[in-house]
Symmetry: C2
Subunit: 348 residues, 2 copies
Amino acid sequence: MSDFYRIALDVMGGDYGSRITLSGAAMALNAMPELYLFLVGDQAEIEQGLAARGIHGDLLSRAKIVHAPSVVTMDDKATSILKEKKDSSVRIAAECVRKDDAHGMVSMGHTGAAMVASMKVIGTLPGVYRPCLATVLPSFKGVPVVLLDVGANVDCKSEHIAQFALMGAVYAEEVLGVTEPKIGVLSVGEEDGKGSETTRHALDALRHLDVNFGGNAEGRDIWNGKFNVVACDGFVGNVVLKSSEALAEGVFGGLKNSLRSNLLSRLGGLLVRPSIRSFYKKLDYAEYGGAPLLGVRGISIIGHGRSNERAVYNAIRVAARGAKNNVSGRIQERMRHLLQMSQKSETA
Amino acid sequence: MSDFYRIALDVMGGDYGSRITLSGAAMALNAMPELYLFLVGDQAEIEQGLAARGIHGDLLSRAKIVHAPSVVTMDDKATSILKEKKDSSVRIAAECVRKDDAHGMVSMGHTGAAMVASMKVIGTLPGVYRPCLATVLPSFKGVPVVLLDVGANVDCKSEHIAQFALMGAVYAEEVLGVTEPKIGVLSVGEEDGKGSETTRHALDALRHLDVNFGGNAEGRDIWNGKFNVVACDGFVGNVVLKSSEALAEGVFGGLKNSLRSNLLSRLGGLLVRPSIRSFYKKLDYAEYGGAPLLGVRGISIIGHGRSNERAVYNAIRVAARGAKNNVSGRIQERMRHLLQMSQKSETA
């Protein structure tokens, strides 16, 4: 088992529960011979689900059921995993990582609960002020863009934003395979003087580091591929992410309707459907497999509640890749290196 | 002239200068018999432009050229209108409003300069902490949504955001014709406890007022029509606006390309083009005619540099409507009313 990338999957999380997560798990086990999964959740339900999917033999030799008697529901508070829901699937998945049984965890359940489990049970890396939630967006240039923080930290100081940027750069390098990712701080104008007090200080901090820093990024730069990493506080990131999701859904939904508006459009719609679908697929979050919570002692991938089996598969794939390339260790190194640099400059 | 809605147009502003602004002006004079325009800019250029467009007779009896020898360019600072560019078209347009010759001004030029001219030359209404820039977005429900501030104020306190919300509500009522507009504060979750310290205090302030307040709005609510007014600080508003513009442009651009990808798609594309175009038109900023700067002593509409003649026409139309319905006076009343309420509650 020691040669495998070991991931704990919160089988019970997500809007569709084990039905979807187990299908995603089977896809992942099939596709990745180096993967070992801890399937965390109700033992009987998981056993039935595996049998119903005909998952057995070699696949099952790389999976282990870890029983968890309860589930965090949308009515629970995020902090419930510390009290009344200590035996929930998401908390027990986090325990697997804390005990080093697993390199990382994946949950499609209650986002807040998965974040609390990651931060309080797995724990924060030394030198990291605050873990942050990153999301990978498809830019129209074809290069992925890491936007972070998208919701873990609402009120941020400049040093937090600067650190988010650095963690995002490690993720872009190690998981997305971008060499020397270009970093930007999300702001209201390109020039250094533009921005809030907080973002201007974050800019100053990043200017003095040995990274590929491109200065301020504007709202449009989230989509044009000018930067590989765009850092902001969790308030701005959350609002941008949710408004973008709604806008994209609305545009594609509106197009669908207008393609049905009359006979000619219907006919044309049939002809263009494959092209539109292939374009939409490029923008589909399911391909990017959930949001990594960076800065914890291990890998934690938090997926959309609405994830389909492909999104679950991709979340597991991303978690395994994070484990393989030691993202967590690399973030810790980077933070240690920075600390040494700042101590040196204080001594000098 | 006293019976007219009198608007000063910065003829020289905008990426295409007088060529587009004069065409928009002619459209507006044609469409609105109650409109009187001050055409501010280079006298000779404007005279030539009017002649070239065959604008004469009755139309010209409702227009007056006001000569301005200089123009603020994109290389100038916003504050240049206070110093070396005191004789610029945008500053002189603002002077027309300050002297009560005009009810309002419209500029498609340097956004910063137009804001400074509005705030420093026209001046802020008594009781208003800070003027703010609003934008009207088309929601997918078909109702317009006023998002503000979108860039005038980067670092905001809670009382600023609460006031933006109230000014936005007056605008929605008086210019967009929405009765009892529903107000929201942009935040990261629906519940009252969600948000930054600043937005939570803004929420508290608005809860105690006699307005149709719906609590926190999320990013997606900018597009779903659940609120008529969404208030935020100018940092968040600017980022959301610019990222949305880029996303929408990218999606429509990408669609165009995918409709050209093969012969069948091309054929289908020809059939669906009218439907897509009519859908796109619903989202087109040109229909909404620029962003009002609310909280100044008069009307100030700041348009996109890339405005076409239709956008210029709509900006003038919106300015005239603001003048007709006395938006500025109504904002002042609302602020006075609130001040009295808070004084009463202090005395009680």
